[in-house]
């Protein structure tokens, strides 16, 4: 769901209004950082990439032609930042998520799927091909429509749908032995 004043803030920020941009940061910081965390598997990398993405967005905001496309535009920049970070660190995309995740241990996730399943889900998500993971996380976390996912990832809508489908298939396959009451 988009904030009703988002387009206004985008137009104001494009004219150099830093307060308006701060509101956009408040609105999208967690979303972008969370998506990048899902992709990188590292908290600090996700935060660095998110910072970079927002800074690029601020710098280039005057060139954004349509305020309504801000969300897609921002996620596209975030995707480029993630690609750059990967190149810089020469890191393999299939990085396992760290064990000391805040969500680890007993908590809501463990209540949902159990302790062992929780660890396996981290692993299954980490070994998911990054292109599937990127589409799936946009779909499930941000609840973006397929058209926007396609635009962000530079693919067709059908491919976006296929990647989400494959990601979920892979996760089901990996998780079947660990889920409750299966």
């Amino acid at each position: 769901m988009r904030a009703p004043d988002e387009s206004t803030w985008v137009r104001q920020a494009a004219q150099g209004d830093r307060d308006a941009f701060a509101r956009l940061v408040d609105l999208y910081w967690d979303k972008v950082r969370r998506w990048l965390f899902g992709l990188t598997g590292k908290q600090h990398l996700a935060e660095d990439a998110a910072q970079e993405a927002f800074l690029r967005a601020w710098t280039n905001l005057p060139t954004l032609r349509e305020a309504a496309t801000f969300r897609v535009w921002l996620f596209k920049i975030a995707k480029h930042c993630w690609s750059d970070a990967r190149r810089r660190s020469n890191a393999h995309p299939n990085v396992a998520l760290p064990e000391e995740l805040p969500g680890s241990g007993t908590g809501p996730l463990s209540e949902i799927i159990g302790e062992e399943a929780h660890e396996q889900l981290e692993l299954a998500l980490a070994i998911l091909p990054s292109k599937y993971r990127a589409a799936y996380l946009l779909w499930t976390q941000e609840e973006l429509p397929y058209a926007e996912i396609a635009e962000i990832l530079g693919i067709t809508e059908e491919t976006a749908r296929w990647r989400v489908c494959k990601a979920r298939q892979n996760l089901v396959q990996a998780m079947t032995p660990y889920l409750q009451a299966m």
Binding site: I77, G103, L137, R168
Partner: protein, 533 residues
């Protein structure tokens, strides 16, 4: 729907979206898909929690500090306003060679830099993002191999209200009561249309306006026209008073977009037209024959309910009424399955009972009235066909009851209970009462199936017991003398007595051209043992 298709939906559909009716129905019946659905639910919830990590509060502050220190780029100059200078094609071979050499050197340098060097902090070229119109996945349901849009939550409210009114309509014995119910239905459609105009969603708006117009024209006005002369004045007074109330309420916000204002005007126009015609019931355009839609024709559930109401209230021929109503009941089945399976639908049990009453009074009651009048053989044959067709709905509901979730069971039980009341009453016509089916030369059924009960050569009738919807029903056929004589004298037919068989007759119905029987295997074994001790 097959598992493969259902799994594709499950893997690509959002949990909070409206799901296709057939998918919901399939999941109810299929343990494999139920498991997949449960797994996906757990995984999505798990991933959601897994990546939901607390943010570092300092990170955002650092970002804003950097933003404060960073200037923005200048807004681009309109390209169209400052076109690039035109190149003059004065290239000669040397310049072309130098150009390609330089380009190749740059490529190699770029490759080496990318491979071995530090990637420079180059800002991405600004993406020119084309406009993306946000939309939700179009939700569809499959009914009889046709894809139709699932109704929105608002439309479901109208469905529930129309179903309730229909249950009242089928039990109404007085024309004034029927008229009042039809007016209630029309008013519900009108209010719903006004809500859609004001608040949306507007997908179903033209349909709703059309239903309103149809209810007034083919429901209310036909009811007035068909009323006995003595009652007509009271009906006209009632209809006019209600319609005038509808006119006053219909005036809405004046600042609507043109397309919506047109729909609102169409509502008002339909009301005014009905008021004008309510005093002229002799208008030939008023009465319309109940029409059964073509098999391939997809009909929205609300439209099916309106057609049902118009048929029940306006059709005077009981056979046609039962026939058309049975068809709409079958078409309503997927929608009922969808609604009764949904937790968010209130009064599900009431809806189930109302649906059962539609079958009881809309289909079986007219059939019962036909049976009581000793119909002619063709009519009887037609009623039996409808009876059997309606029985399919009952059988389908019984099947659904077995696999329905616990919460939906009371609704299905009530639907079945109400339908069975009608079934029990109207099945009497199939018990050999009335005249036998006449099989004249070239007429009558080409296939007779069941267990032979009696061949009456004197009266020229064949009585059989047929299994219809799990019940034994006695049917008597009046057959040509040649056929009776053949059956009486045929040793093959005699051997079939008491067992399940199917006879296929010639076009002139005088000769049996095929006999199919279901033999008892144990009897065959005994026969074999006798032959080969």
């Amino acid at each position: 729907m097959k598992c493969r298709e259902a799994q594709h939906w499950l893997l690509t559909f959002r949990r909070n979206a409206t799901w296709p009716a057939d998918l919901v129905v399939h999941i109810q019946d299929c343990p494999k898909c139920q498991k997949l659905n449960a797994k996906l639910k757990q995984i999505d919830a798990g991933v959601d929690t897994l990546t939901d990590t607390p943010a570092n509060p300092g990170a955002k502050e650092r970002l804003m500090q950097r933003v404060a220190e960073t200037p923005q780029v200048a807004a681009p100059v309109n390209d169209a306003a400052t076109p690039a200078p035109a190149r003059t094609p004065t290239w000669n071979g040397w310049w072309v060679g130098a150009y390609f050499l330089g380009a190749a050197a740059l490529l190699v340098f770029g490759f080496l830099l990318g491979r071995y060097g530090e990637v420079p902090e180059v800002l991405d070229p600004v993406e020119r993002v084309r406009t993306v119109v946000e939309f939700r996945d179009k939700t569809v349901e499959v009914i009889r191999d046709k894809m139709v849009t699932v109704q929105s939550q608002a439309d479901r409210g109208l469905f529930s209200s129309l179903l309730k009114h229909n249950a009242r309509l089928v039990q109404a014995s007085q024309s004034l009561e029927r008229l009042g119910t039809l007016l209630d239905m029309a008013d519900d459609c009108r209010l719903h249309a006004l809500t859609l105009i004001e608040q949306g969603p507007r997908d179903a708006l033209p349909l709703t306006v059309g239903l309103y117009r149809q209810l007034l024209r083919d429901g209310v006005l036909v009811q007035v026209a068909q009323a006995p002369a003595g009652d007509r004045v009271a009906l006209q007074t009632e209809a006019r008073a209600r319609l005038e109330k509808m006119t006053t309420v219909a005036a809405g916000s004046p600042s609507l977009p043109r397309v919506l204002a047109d729909q609102r005007d169409a509502l008002q126009h339909a009301t005014h037209e009905a008021i004008e015609n309510v005093d002229r019931p002799e208008q030939p355009t008023l009465a319309s024959k109940a029409r059964k839609p073509a098999r391939h024709e997809a009909i929205a559930p609300t439209a099916a309910l309106v057609q049902f109401a118009i048929t029940v209230s306006g059709e005077s021929d009981p056979v046609a009424k039962a026939d058309v109503c049975a068809d709409y009941v079958q078409r309503l089945m997927p929608a009922m399955q969808l609604y009764l399976a949904e937790e968010s639908v209130p009064h599900r049990a009431d809806m189930g009972q109302q649906f059962g009453q539609l079958i009881q009074f809309g289909v079986y009651a007219p059939l019962e009235s036909v049976a009581a009048k000793h119909p002619t053989p063709p009519v009887k044959q037609e009623t039996e066909r409808i009876f059997e067709f309606a029985g399919q709905a009952l059988a389908e509901m019984e099947k659904k009851l077995e696999s329905a979730p616990a919460e939906a069971r009371p609704a299905w039980e009530k639907a079945i209970e109400a339908s069975k009341k009608g079934f029990e009453k109207s099945k009497s016509f199939s018990k050999g009462k009335g005249k036998a089916f006449q099989m004249k030369e070239g007429k009558g059924p080409r296939e007779i199936q069941g267990s032979i009960k009696r061949i009456d050569a004197a009266n020229g009738t064949i009585s059989i017991t047929a299994r219809i919807q799990g019940r034994d029903v006695d049917v008597t056929y009046a057959a040509p003398g040649e056929l009776i004589a053949f059956m009486v004298n045929s040793s093959k037919i005699g051997a079939l007595s008491g067992s399940e068989w199917q006879l296929r007759l010639s076009d002139d119905r005088r000769t049996i051209i095929e006999i199919r029987s279901k033999r008892d295997p144990s009897a065959d074994d005994q026969r074999n043992q006798k032959q080969n001790p």
